[in-house]
């Protein structure tokens, strides 16, 4: 019984220590979301729960309503950063997300405080979200993210914040964005207000390359990306990319899916040229595209 009691006390203690850094974020209709007081005066939350850029209010754990200014957002990693004056002195005690292992007990916290209990169900390497964000580590959770839990902290067995929970980055499963990523992205957002990403201005769809064509043109991969939309006057259009071209390589490296393409479009590539190899009418064509910056939402 002692073992059960001490676990119970540890769990309740972890909730009590973390509760002061929780805020309620009112930036959408109906259910508010949760935010984490990350650094003095800075709250991080899930971008998909911040549905407006103004009139954002956060409510502190001790019930005070404060105005928040949106310092920046990165849909790619589902992170929004708010500046808030008048928050209490407690900020999140961060843990080491690199030390997380499958099977570790974990708590997800929501404003209130409310809590959900479970385990880390999978850990994976660096991955790219469907919205193009670089996430340093995949953290999949076997616990319930109740309404309003997105943006709240994932707390490890020692009561430290190791991630920000979100249901906005995967349809079927609950994930946490590791604090390593939250810190890196939030720093960039605070510095520049945005996370810049490269942009070509084309929509693509994977297509199988017929074997005779591969042999004839000496193509490495068996899949290419057919251009199905071209943004008028976008970077690719200006370089001469046409609807129906099949992209097979960027900078001489074969690309077979959108992830491969995204990997070439980090913020540092903006304004530089990238060599694109396409198959057009059964022949190879080389184009030089000047990478643009992806327009921001609503811009």
């Amino acid at each position: 019984m002692e073992a059960l009691l001490s676990l119970s006390n540890d769990l309740a203690g972890a909730v009590e220590r973390t509760a002061p850094v929780l805020v309620t974020v009112q930036a959408r209709r109906h259910v508010p979301s949760t935010g984490i007081h990350w650094r003095p005066g800075v709250v991080v939350t899930a971008d998909h729960t911040v549905r407006r850029d103004e009139d954002i209010v956060v409510v502190t754990a001790d019930g005070r309503s404060l105005r928040a200014a949106l310092a920046g957002r990165d849909p790619g990693s589902d992170l929004a950063v708010l500046r808030v004056e008048g928050l209490g002195s407690a900020t999140a005690t961060l843990g080491d997300d690199a030390a997380l292992r499958v099977g570790h007990m974990a708590l997800a916290l929501g404003y209130g405080p409310r809590v959900s209990w479970g385990v880390i169900s999978a850990i994976g390497p660096r991955w790219r979200s469907w919205r193009g964000g670089e996430i340093d580590r995949l953290i999949r959770l076997d616990l319930v993210l109740y309404p309003g839990f997105s943006g709240g902290p994932l707390v490890d067995g020692s009561g430290r914040v190791v991630g920000m929970n979100t249901s906005g980055l995967a349809r079927e499963s609950r994930l946490a964005v590791p604090m390593t990523t939250v810190g890196r992205v939030a720093d960039e957002l605070l510095r520049t207000g945005r996370v810049a990403r490269g942009y070509l201005g084309i929509g693509m769809q994977p297509v199988r390359l017929p074997d005779p064509l591969r042999a004839q043109l000496g193509l490495a991969g068996d899949t290419g990306l057919m251009v199905v939309t071209v943004e008028t006057d976008g970077p690719a259009a200006r370089a001469g990319v046409l609807l129906g071209d099949v992209l097979v390589a960027l900078d001489g490296t074969a690309v077979s899916d959108l992830d491969d393409v995204q990997a070439h479009l980090g913020g540092q590539r903006i304004g530089t040229t990238i060599a694109a190899t396409v198959v057009r009418a059964g022949a190879r064509a080389e184009l030089s595209i000047t990478v643009g910056e992806r327009p921001r939402r609503g811009a």
């Binding site: 019984m1 002692e2 006390n9 309740a12 409310r114 809590v115 959900s116």
Partner: protein, 199 residues
């Protein structure tokens, strides 16, 4: 061939403690069935709910929505007892039943107002007709009128005990709302018993 099992010094006592607690709780948990229902033990369609032995002389507490009409109480040793409904309050979802008996294993009742968010909870009941199944979870949010628990319940858990890590009953499981278990706090149940059964 010999296999050597390593015993983890942390998780082994935890598992033992949880198993011990489950057994203790099962002893004070009863099945509540409509009278005249199939007498066979277990299986789907048997139990409709659960209850907690509140007093060794035969007082059993359950939910009002479980104690509709004439019911039968099945004790943890398998003996069925006809039950007399002595009080029922649909608003608080509580009902008191009396069965013949004395020296029945009785639950230790905890103070639900002392619950902390994040505290461990164990529930015992008869979900889907399984007899005395255990679920584990924790306090999601605590209130005066009900306790919300991050814990998986099913129909058949209704009326059964929700206990803390010391095995003290802190609530009676009542329903599932939005995936959360909702229980009537033990302090509400205690007040109900005091009001209804004053002698």
């Amino acid at each position: 061939m010999s296999a050597t099992a390593t015993v983890d010094p942390v998780t082994a006592p935890l598992a033992e403690a949880a198993a011990g607690m489950a057994a203790r709780l099962a002893r004070v948990t009863v099945e509540v069935r409509p009278r005249g229902a199939r007498e066979g033990r277990g299986g789907l369609g048997g139990a409709v709910g659960a209850g907690v032995v509140w007093h060794p002389d035969g007082l059993v507490l359950t939910n009002a929505h479980v104690a509709r009409g004439e019911v039968l109480v099945v004790l943890s040793d398998g003996r069925p007892r006809p039950a007399r409904l002595v009080a029922r309050d649909p608003r608080r979802d509580l009902a008191a039943l009396v069965i013949d008996g004395h020296d029945l294993p009785t639950a230790e009742i905890g103070d639900s107002s002392a619950l902390r968010v994040g505290e461990l909870l164990l529930a015992v009941g008869n979900p889907y007709g399984l007899v005395r199944a255990l679920s584990a979870g924790l306090v999601h949010a605590a209130g005066d009128r009900f306790i919300q628990a991050d814990l998986r319940l099913a129909p058949g858990n209704s009326g059964g005990p929700l206990a803390d890590a010391r095995g003290r009953v802190v609530g009676l499981n009542a329903m599932v709302v939005g995936g959360l278990a909702v229980a009537v706090p033990s302090n509400v149940a205690r007040r109900f018993v005091g009001e209804q059964l004053r002698t």
